[in-house]
């Protein structure tokens, strides 16, 4: 594949994303949260409260001009904490997805390309991992390693990579029959070189789509782990943990649990919608008008 056609394809893809209103909206939300998490210390109204400084005299204030999302049980500004929480959730999503891809994709490509015994062994291993309900497996892992944000992220990555191994394997099996791969084989390029130089770049599309949607699943799973006490620990402004601490105050001070949860929902739906649109756009079968290639 030459550089010229690649850039043309990319152009068409970008154009199609631009035309898809839902894709643009979700991209906008994602960008918004990325900017918020990078600039958190500067845009949060009360950065020190965002990081956990209690203000005893301001407990449970309803949303107002000074505290747009109200204050929590320690008098901290909920908006500031939600802003700081964005950093944690986005980081967790990126970390879990990247680690899962880095483990799963090479294994899947190798299994698919070489076939035979290697394939058989690697795929049986992924079968076993996939037969665990992933969140339950993650719970057992964190319970063993000890609760905490880092252990929660590690556990989620460990339960996630087999999906990428399977996806990458399926890609490798189709791509290895392509003429350019066969040609490289004929001139004697080494197997592993073919895997990483030829298979990897051409297998990336579905992996990127899956990765985008998994950002959402990873953020949700981690919020869930924090909610049941296995992830981030107080005074961390992690969203799931905030919902968990705030839930007993729901009927009297609704803003405390509601806003952090709303943030999780917004981020998760944005990544899912964007991934969904991306799949439709990148898959030639569902590609709509304008996709003349």
């Amino acid at each position: 594949m030459s550089r010229l056609t690649l850039s043309k394809e990319t152009k068409i893809t970008l154009e199609l994303i631009r035309r898809d209103k839902l894709a643009m909206l979700s991209l906008l939300i994602i960008t918004f949260f990325v900017v918020v998490s990078i600039t958190a210390p500067f845009i949060a109204p009360y950065p020190s409260q965002g990081e956990g400084l209690p203000v005893p005299e301001k407990r449970f204030l309803p949303p107002s001009f000074e505290n747009p999302f109200g204050t929590d049980y320690l008098g901290r500004d909920v908006l500031s904490r939600v802003i700081f929480g964005a950093r944690i959730s986005l980081f967790v999503g990126i970390f879990v997805v990247c680690v899962a891809i880095m483990i799963g994709v090479p294994l899947g490509l190798i299994a698919g390309y070489f076939g035979g015994k290697v394939d058989e062994i690697l795929m049986r291993i992924t079968d076993v991992f996939l037969s665990f309900p992933s969140l339950l497996f993650a719970i057992a892992l964190v319970a063993t390693l000890g609760p905490g944000l880092f252990n929660a992220m590690i556990s989620l990555s460990i339960t996630w990579w087999p999906w990428y191994a399977r996806l990458a394997r399926a890609q490798a099996v189709t791509i290895k029959e392509q003429p350019y791969v066969l040609a490289s084989q004929v001139i004697g390029v080494k197997g592993l070189t073919i895997v990483f130089r030829h298979l990897l770049p051409n297998a990336l599309t579905p992996i990127i789509v899956q990765g985008t949607m998994d950002m959402s699943s990873a953020i949700l799973a981690e919020a869930g782990l924090s909610f049941i006490g296995l992830g981030a620990q107080a005074p961390s402004p992690e969203w799931g943990l905030m919902v968990s601490t705030g839930r007993i105050y729901l009927l009297n001070y609704w803003w405390f649990p509601v806003f952090p949860g709303l943030a999780i929902f917004l981020v998760a739906i944005a990544f899912n919608l964007f991934g969904d649109s991306l799949r439709d756009i990148l898959d030639p079968k569902t590609r709509k008008a304008g996709g003349q290639m």
Binding site: L22, R124, D127, V128, S131, F132, P133, S134, L135, L136, F137, I139, A140, L141, A143, T144, L145, P147, S216, L220, A223, G224, F227, I228, G229, L230, G240, V243, S244, R247, L250, L251, W254, P257, V258, G261, L262, I264, F265, A268, I269, F271, N272, L273, D276
Partner: protein, 341 residues
């Protein structure tokens, strides 16, 4: 049906192999990974004496392969160890809490199947029209909403503001006192009905609606998406066009000929959603104080009750493996193509 039998046999062997590895992995997790497995089993507050006792009981002073054989033997005999808090056998606890969880999980999946198939097929019929876009956003929303937060929102709206559903629990305290449910199946909605306890039936239905609905949101999204994509594909098939050209009524074509082919993906989605529901129920149960496995596990987590947590993991995984075995077999039975791969 010879090929079906072979398929079934192969699938059972695979399930057994998977179970073997699952048990091995949990063994590694509980005996090899931790630097001090005894502490996990007795908790950080245990005395030296208790530790010694646990090490003896669990055989932690033996070589690893003997521990492994012992662990395996215990599991095969249904011994998942004792919980740290109550000192009751974990398996006994699990079986006590299981019916409550199964009740909402099953109801949620039935809801998901009905609503998901309806949404998915309607969406496919109205492809690229407003209804299709709306259903797409709803289904993506369903898989994106954090269930524990959505549960709180429904409590806020339906209990706090509208006051039409109870806040939490399985039965109101007065009903529990004056019209207690006699356990037959462990499902309160069914038990109260077959014992003719109408007061308790109405009350238990009122209590189960919110948790079951919240638990169903994720599977609804999943089933909708799978049924929609399958229906879109099927509606382009030649035999559908042929039926249309022959002047068959649209409804007959859609619901009799096309929808039949969407059942397989719906079953696949159901397998996934069952997996989700087992753990999804954990978070939802906590919010609704639903006395099921989730509440049990989360309490175990809060109190560092390691044997209980590990027991639930093993039990849940075995349950999940068998659900998948069942669904795969059903699928192979309904769709001959599956058997041949």
């Amino acid at each position: 049906m010879a090929s079906f039998k072979t398929y079934f046999l192969k699938r059972i062997i695979l399930a057994l192999v998977v179970l073997y590895f699952v048990i091995t992995i949990t063994f590694v997790l509980s005996h090899v990974v931790p630097s001090d497995p005894a502490e996990l089993y007795v908790g950080p507050k245990a005395t030296a004496e208790q530790r010694e006792k646990a090490i003896k009981e669990l055989g932690l002073d033996q070589p690893l392969y003997i521990q492994y054989i012992r662990y395996f033997k215990n599991l095969v005999n249904g011994d998942l160890g004792k919980s740290l808090r109550a000192h009751t056998p974990v398996l006994h606890d699990i079986l006590t809490y299981l019916p409550a969880t199964l009740e909402i999980v099953i109801l949620a999946n039935i809801l998901a199947l009905i609503i998901g198939v309806a949404f998915g097929s309607y969406s496919a019929l109205k492809k690229d029209m407003f209804a299709d876009h709306l259903i797409r956003v709803i289904s993506v929303g369903g898989v994106s909403i954090p269930s524990f937060w959505f549960a709180l929102i429904t409590q806020l709206v339906f209990f706090g503001i509208l006051g039409i559903f109870p806040l939490d629990g399985r039965l109101s305290s007065d009903v529990q006192l004056f019209n207690p449910v006699h356990t037959v199946t462990g499902f309160f909605t069914i038990d109260s009905l077959i014992t003719g306890n109408i007061v308790a039936f109405v009350d238990s239905v009122r209590h189960i609606i919110l948790p079951a609905f919240v638990l169903a949101t994720y599977p609804i999204g999943l089933v909708t998406r799978m049924v929609r994509s399958m229906m879109v594909e099927v509606l382009n098939e030649n035999y559908i066009r042929f039926a249309k050209a022959n002047g068959f009524r649209d409804n007959l074509i859609y619901y009799k000929y096309a929808l039949k082919n969407a059942i397989t993906p719906a079953l696949m989605a159901l397998g996934l959603s069952f997996a989700y529901s087992i753990t999804g129920a954990f978070l939802v149960e906590v919010i609704f104080s639903w006395p099921g496995l989730g509440t049990y596990t989360v309490n175990a987590i809060l109190e560092n009750d390691y044997p209980a947590i590990l027991g639930v993991t093993i039990f849940g995984t075995i349950f999940y493996v068998f659900i998948n075995l069942f669904l795969d077999t059903l699928q192979a039975y309904l769709d001959p193509r599956v058997r041949l791969q």
